[in-house]
């Protein structure tokens, strides 16, 4: 099918990503990250990006490649553990960071995509997260949280069709459909680019309406971060 959304590769799909823009990146740790897009951005001569990602890479991999190039000016994330490069840049004040509780993080992104102008949540009340935020008492004290938008989102799905309908594998879905809804331009890379109709309508996890660009990805590493099996001792130091 001839579709205006179809791109040949990551480089072409990200050709108008510019310095100073905000970028959402799907994935949980290294699970479900847009590997081709990350590589392409690492080769672009841009900087001062705002990055919105749960972990901003992990264990020296994924988005850490771009983090080490000092292309990120500000980070929005929920978890730093397992990402020593990020922790180092935060403590040295080399990167501005907004740490957001993960449920609030995902809901702020969802809100941006779905037209919600704000919501009240008990999460973070009585902590540093509540500082400077409007409080309101419902059954319990809550704080007002606002939507989180972005110029671009980079997303990876297992399967996608030329309209942008997506299907995610196992726990690789995480923040990706939400980010796809919240960004002005959503770039999706897929392991399998399939024909229209190949993903049964009932099984579409994200309707293609939310996708602006899609391409067939290549050379996936799909790294496992921590391989644990029944054979791994339970009393090891790092259990």
């Amino acid at each position: 099918m001839n579709s205006p959304k179809l791109y040949p590769n990551a480089k072409m799909a990200l050709c108008d990503l510019k310095s100073g823009m905000s970028l959402m990146s799907g994935g949980f740790g290294l699970c479900g990250i847009a590997e081709n897009c990350i590589d392409a951005i690492s080769e672009l001569d841009i900087n001062n990006l705002s990055i919105i990602s749960n972990n901003i890479g992990n264990s020296g991999r994924g988005l850490v490649k771009i983090l080490r190039q000092r292309k990120f000016k500000k980070a929005f994330c929920s978890y730093v553990g397992g990402n020593p490069d990020l922790e180092e840049q935060i403590l040295a004040k080399e990167i501005e960071v907004e740490l957001i509780p993960q449920g609030t993080f995902s809901e702020r992104i969802r809100a941006a995509g779905l037209g919600i102008r704000g919501f009240y949540t008990p999460t973070g009340h009585g902590t540093l997260v509540a500082e400077g935020k409007e409080e309101k008492l419902f059954d319990r004290p809550c704080i007002l949280e606002l939507p989180l938008h972005a110029d671009f989102a980079i997303i990876k799905a297992q399967k996608g069709d030329p309209y942008g309908n997506l299907w995610f594998k196992e726990t690789a879905r995480n923040f990706s459909p939400l980010m796809a809804m919240a960004a002005k331009i959503t770039v999706v890379e897929v392991e399998e680019l399939v024909e229209l109709g190949d993903i049964p309508a009932e099984d579409v996890h994200l309707p293609g309406l939310f996708v602006q660009r899609i391409f067939q990805g290549t050379d996936y590493k799909n790294d496992i971060e921590y391989l644990k099996t029944k054979e791994t001792p339970l009393e090891s130091k790092k259990s």
């Binding site: 740790g29 978890y79 609030t104 196992e170 879905r173």
Partner: protein, 203 residues
Amino acid sequence: MTWTKTKMADEVIKLFTPHSSVNLGIGLPTLIAERIPAELPLMVQSENGVLGVDGRPTSADSASPTLINAGKETISISKGASFFDSSLSFGMIRGGHIDFCVLGGMEVDVEQNLANWMIPGKKITGMGGAMDLVNGAKKVIIMMGHFNRQGAPKLLKKCVLPLTGKSVVDIVVTDHGIFKPNGSKFEVIKIAEGVLESDLKLP
């Protein structure tokens, strides 16, 4: 004798009721999934988007890079499991649909406060899903060492570190026993065999 990590996991499991939903935090609590007895039916949720975690895969061959828990460790799933996005996952949590959550901790105090996400100027772990979990789960269980690496007690009169949640902790399982913060002190629910009351250094 203080409890091993495995024994601590077993003690936490005794607090669960059959057919309940349980979220296991990163670190120590993930061990629990390995120790749940077959005769105790539970649905284990991991906030990265799975309900029905069944512990670790049998071997490296059956591990999938897209099948992980919130600690980014490989897992397997049980029959009846489901996958979903992060918003739905935290909707389950915030919406009060999760019966128990088990989290690690740096400090817990008598007023049921928990600190477990940063040491100002020294260490930033980030709160991940912990702030949502402590405010959303029906029962909040903290599983942690009784003392920190410097040997200082982690059960305090008042938390010093930035809080994860205020008045949220129901019960604490350490390697020394089980304790319940009641607003003014920690009630001793159970003490590890051979550990003396004076060893606990309770506030």
